[in-house]
């Protein structure tokens, strides 16, 4: 039999039927639902008199709109409140399992899926959210879908789609001190560009990836979409199996043994062919900082803001000029001289316990700089928050002058009250630095949790590998 990639295996295992042009009906195992992209889909079901095909495949949570302060009160923005209440009502009406705002298991959909063991190797996982690629860290085929497809999965448990091409991103070697999965993700995007992965599924492989924790692998797969790839994935190994054991939605007993034996087959075969292979040397990756308005506009922290005048491609040059103007930066200025106003540690990219521990290590015994108006830490879930509090991380942050918040998407996309004011500059552990993403006129620099914490303390970007 022909050697298969991990993507081939996951795809082939879920094809229900194929059209003549290769369009397949793909079966979906897990459907995660949140409040922003689901109301129109539930309404569609209702209008057509349909019920969810397999309601036990669905797990819902409100994350985008939820406030990160004063949870006991109702959401004061009536438009946000209606959206969250609509999710509550829809879940009740259709019998969907939901972790409500008052539930300790509530959190960012891409944090709680793995945390609950609701994301398992070999699954197809979808959600009306592009960062669904996160779940590929468990050797699942996981990707974001639009609302029409949310309704389609609800009604049929399937999606119509064509197989994408397969890309392998190989990272070999040991990461330097202070260099994290986030820096690897940004370095990959810097190398292949935000459209480099368009039309591909990316498998991350190599000794560096095998050395990452599940949290690190999730951070990496999370940002596959920022490289244009709908899905990112990592093969199963002992790290994967160990993480899943004993989680509430994971199998147990004899079923666990059977599942774990199957999961061990979820890797690319020796000699499997990829349509494209990209290689990076871990030793060459330094802590990364984005300088522009696209995640591909990224340099190492010891570098300088690039000079558009040196760019030969007219479209890229114009984009860089526009970005520098929006970001209010000068060409050739050292990254370490960029002073910040706010710090955001959180999002589906970097809000897991390991991220908070790493940031707390930097913040411990220090204090947020005077020019930083707000430094906030937003745990990815109620359970991450509880774990961090048991470890005393909340006190470390609070004593250092950070705000310790309730879980949610928060200032990653600023749908709730957490946002930048026009002109404010933020060191953020999130995933997108688009114009206006964190608030109209706000300026976002994407970094790792360590780099964000170090920037909060110094008031400007510093090379965390040198601080250590």
């Amino acid at each position: 039999m022909k050697a298969q990639t991990l993507y081939d295996k996951l795809w082939n295992d879920h094809v229900v039927r194929s059209e003549a042009d290769g369009t397949a009906l793909l079966y979906i195992d897990r459907h995660l639902v949140h409040e922003v992209t689901s109301p129109q889909a539930f309404e569609g079901l209702r209008l057509a008199g349909r019920k969810p095909w397999r309601v036990s495949s669905m797990i819902a949570v409100a994350d985008h709109n939820v406030p990160t302060v004063r949870r006991v009160e109702r959401i004061h923005d009536p438009v946000s409140r209606l959206q969250v209440e609509t999710l509550d009502d829809n879940c009740k009406e259709f019998g969907v399992t939901e972790f409500r705002m008052s539930d300790q298991r509530q959190g960012i959909v891409h944090v709680i899926g793995p945390e609950q063991g609701a994301t398992l190797p070999g699954m197809t996982v979808v959600c009306g959210d592009s960062h669904t690629s996160t779940h590929g860290a468990f050797a699942a085929l996981a990707f974001g879908i639009g609302t029409s497809e949310v309704e389609h999965v609800m009604a049929t448990q399937c999606l119509l789609m064509k197989k994408s091409k397969a890309m392998q991103v190989v990272v070999e070697g040991a990461l330097g001190p202070g260099v994290t999965a986030k820096d690897v993700a940004l370095a990959v995007i810097g190398k292949i560009g935000t459209a480099g992965g368009t039309g591909f599924s990316i498998e991350f492989a190599g000794s560096t990836i095998r050395g990452l924790s599940m949290e690190g692998r999730m951070t990496l797969c999370n940002m596959a979409i920022e490289a244009g790839a709908r899905a990112g994935m990592v093969a199963v190994d002992e790290t994967t199996i160990r993480y899943l054991k004993g989680r509430p939605f994971a199998p147990s007993g004899a079923m666990w043994d059977k599942a774990a034996a199957y999961w061990q087959t979820l890797h690319s075969d020796e000699g499997a062919q990829f349509d494209k292979v990209v290689s990076l040397d871990a030793a060459q990756i330094k802590p990364q900082v984005t300088w522009g308005t696209s995640p591909e506009m990224v340099v190492a922290v010891d570098g300088r803001v690039p000079d558009p005048a040196t760019m030969s491609d007219a479209v890229k040059r114009e984009a860089a000029e526009r970005a520098l103007k929006y970001m209010d930066l000068k060409a050739n200025m050292p990254i370490s001289e960029i002073r910040i106003d706010k710090v955001f540690i959180g999002s589906c990219t970097n809000s897991r316990i390991e991220d908070l521990r790493a940031a707390a290590t930097i913040a411990r015994g220090k204090h947020v700089a005077g020019n930083v108006k707000l430094a906030m830490v937003v745990p990815g879930s109620g359970l991450v928050k509880r774990q961090a509090e048991q470890e005393g991380l909340d006190k470390v942050f609070i004593e250092a002058g950070f705000e310790w918040r309730e879980p949610g998407c928060s200032m990653c996309l600023a749908m709730n009250d957490d946002k930048l004011s026009p002109g404010e500059r933020c060191a953020s552990t999130s995933n997108r630095n688009f114009e206006g993403r964190q608030g109209q006129g706000g300026r976002t620099h994407l970094v790792s949790p360590e780099m964000a914490a170090a920037a909060a303390i110094a008031g400007h970007f510093v090379d965390v590998s040198a601080v250590n």
Partner: protein, 212 residues
């Protein structure tokens, strides 16, 4: 879903690469639980000089005169000409909803982000990929010729320009069939209920833990 066959439409040029879905429809408008009414907030942060919020009366808001869609010559445009990686970023279907609600039926670019591309077809919008050189050529033509229109023929997979030039484009056979006939995906898939059920049984016996 709306059918698409032939469109003879006015073209508006949006000369930026990597136009993301946050720019197409900013996040505050995603709080709506409806799928219509997003047109007035399409490109909100570029289009208006003030800050937009849901529920505002958009008719009195100050327009940004520099933004291309605010120029009189592009009023009524149904074809948007754009650059590479159009629609990158989030999966929000509110982006194609906003483009559709504004009046666009076709978007031409050298490349599209995968999720956005897919979402367009679910809403009767036709995204067309041309080469970067062809896109360059069209930008030059649109800017030089007020009232510039193109004829897009999905059946023939052609774009005809006023200068007589015809551009061929690719579209997957299945998507084309659905768009030409305005077919609803869910209805189509539910024609295969028996196959889905028999797959599901097989899948359940192979990996029972997925159905716990």
């Amino acid at each position: 879903m709306k059918k698409f066959s032939v469109l003879n439409g006015l073209v508006a040029p949006l000369d930026r690469a990597n136009v993301d879905t946050d720019a197409i429809i900013p996040k505050q408008f995603l709080k709506s639980i409806k799928r219509s009414g997003f047109g007035p907030n399409l490109f909100d942060e570029w289009r208006y000089l003030d800050h937009g919020e849901p529920g505002m009366d958009n008719s009195g808001r100050p327009l940004n005169p520099d933004f291309v869609l605010n120029q009189p010559r592009y009023q009524g445009a149904q074809i948007l000409l754009a650059r590479e990686n159009f629609g990158c970023g989030s999966s929000r279907e509110h982006a194609p909803w906003a483009l559709d609600d504004y009046g666009f039926r076709v978007i031409i670019a050298s490349s599209f982000a995968d999720i956005f591309y897919n979402n367009c077809f679910k809403n009767g919008l036709l995204p067309i990929r041309l080469t970067a050189e062809q896109v360059d050529e069209l930008f030059a033509e649109v800017v030089a010729n007020p009232g510039y229109k193109l004829v897009v023929d999905l059946e023939q997979q052609t774009i005809s320009a006023p200068n007589g030039k015809v551009y061929k484009f690719e579209v997957e056979a299945f998507r084309k069939h659905c768009l030409l006939n305005g077919l609803d995906d869910i209805g189509l898939t539910l024609q295969h209920v028996d196959e889905i059920k028999s797959y599901e049984e097989k899948h359940r016996s192979a990996q029972p833990w997925l159905f716990a």
